[in-house]
């Protein structure tokens, strides 16, 4: 195993997976609290359509992934605000439409392109130095914005209307959160792939949610779960030669079910404090 760590590609993929694991699990806290789980799933498919289009017309795939991802989340946010359509319906439509576009773009390509499938299923072991720099820069950007607006994002996750009524620019903060989700999805595409990226956002935060009543601890636990499962998942992938995306996600799922079994919240459910 130590031999493996000597390779450049291995160092790059461990670094990439640690960053992606940390980023996904921290933004995941706000996604879980605000109830945006399905939005992220839709966004990852839209971002993949962007990647496919990039390869088809010869543009930078990550750039188009960002464009597609942002367009989807903003449209979703706009629909939710208008209340014209149930959110699950509008996302369901966007989700499948963008996936259809992705498949169409792949079909239009003259030849088989293995790199595109890397974005679909994740291939962290093939992360290039340039991609690593992009992942690093976007991670720093997203985490800084999260930190700067943490108190507002926390408030809108708890009660958006209340936040707006008490003088927090809640709508802007909601769109900021959606934007950060889209950027996170794009950052993670190469590591875990479009189909599985959402697990990286949802599972570590949901695992931590089982274990604590404090936001600070929740975020800390979530980041720990996210980083650990990503790094260990990549090692498993390299050592046993299995795909990295499934290795990471299945490991995270195993930890999630363990946490559910031992959740103190499940125990407390029968013993609510009724002091008067």
């Amino acid at each position: 195993m130590l031999d493996l760590l000597a390779y450049d590609f291995m160092q790059r993929s461990l670094l990439a997976s640690a960053m992606v694991g940390g980023l996904c699990s921290i933004i995941g806290v706000f996604v879980v609290l605000r109830g945006l789980a399905f939005v992220g799933a839709g966004t990852s498919h839209a971002a993949f359509a962007g990647v496919a289009l990039g390869y088809l017309i010869g543009w930078p795939p990550l750039l188009l992934a960002i464009v597609f991802g942002l367009a989807t989340v903003w449209l979703t946010g706009w629909v939710e605000e208008r209340g014209r359509m149930k959110l699950d319906v509008s996302i369901g439509i966007l989700y499948t439409t963008t996936m259809a576009l992705g498949i169409l773009f792949i079909g239009l390509m003259k030849s088989y392109n293995a790199e595109v499938y890397g974005y679909l299923f994740g291939s962290v072991l093939s992360v290039t130095p340039e991609e690593l720099r992009i992942i690093g820069a976007l991670s720093v950007l997203v985490l800084s914005l999260l930190l700067l607006f943490a108190k507002e994002l926390y408030f809108i996750a708890f009660d958006q209307e209340m936040a707006e009524a008490s003088g927090v620019p809640a709508r802007q903060m909601f769109f900021l959160l959606l934007t950060l989700v889209a950027l996170t999805v794009v950052v993670s595409l190469k590591t875990v792939g479009a189909i599985l990226v959402f697990a990286m956002i949802l599972i570590p935060a949901s695992t931590a949610y089982q274990l604590t009543h404090s936001l600070r601890t929740l975020t800390l636990y979530s980041a720990c779960f996210g980083i650990t499962t990503s790094v260990v998942g990549v090692l498993i992938s390299a050592i046993w030669d299995v795909p990295s995306g499934p290795a990471i996600v299945l490991l995270a799922t195993a930890i999630f079910f363990t946490a559910v079994l031992f959740s103190p919240k499940r125990v407390k459910r029968t013993g609510v404090v009724h002091s008067h």
Binding site: L33, Y154, F155, F158, D159, M162, S166, G167, L215
Partner: protein, 272 residues
Amino acid sequence: MSSDGTEGSVSTDHSPIIRFDHASFGFPGLIALKDISLPIYDGEFVGVIGPNGSGKTTLCRAVLGLLPPVEGHLHIFDCACSELRCHHRAQIGYLPQKGVVDRNFPVTVLETVMMGRYGALGLLKRPGKKDRQIAMDALAQVDMVSHKDTALGHLSGGQQQRVFIARALAQQPKVLILDEPTTGLDITMQHNVIELVQHLHDELKLTVLLITHDINMIRSRVDRLVLLKTRLYAAGPPAEVLKPEILHQVYGKELVITEKDLVIVEDYHHHH
């Protein structure tokens, strides 16, 4: 249509802090409130009553600056409703209709109250010692200091209402709006909450807008009652608003006035 809303026992020597001027709210074709003209003065305790769907919550949202009028004007702190900025909103404390609190949301009582400081603080500023002190004072006002580190989801409904009132107070508001604060509480809790609101009005000189179905509970406490049913049917001292002919117009046969002048909601026919 017995009143234009300007009468009342409160002195009118200063300009109102909230002023509805022939204001209508809703969407074209679906008007929730029509042609409302009503001034609300600094330090008033106003009760807002009316049947279900009469536009009471719409009135709340309008005063919060969340719903500009489609016709007419609404001025809050001398500012048009649509131009109400975040720092204005921070001066209005709001207790929304009791929704379902996610029992597992990771938030303690003190953290909930601290949220009341966020709007007033503005973006990019972290709450400091002073904000914590304001939040603790607000908790003391509602007598919940001993629960400050309890998870919000572990409290009873009445206790959660007190915490949410404390959060509104932490904004250090000029106006406090409460939308049916007693709904879903047992009778003792209902009295506790209304007494708390009265106390806050008296002690902190807050302008209070209290929306409720429980006319009996507030009639002796408020300065003015506002009776809504899409339109403004009456506004004035409780004795002037709670007249059989006015109530009958709004509530129909479901409401009778007994000899002791108590308002009882029940089927009129059973007594005849």
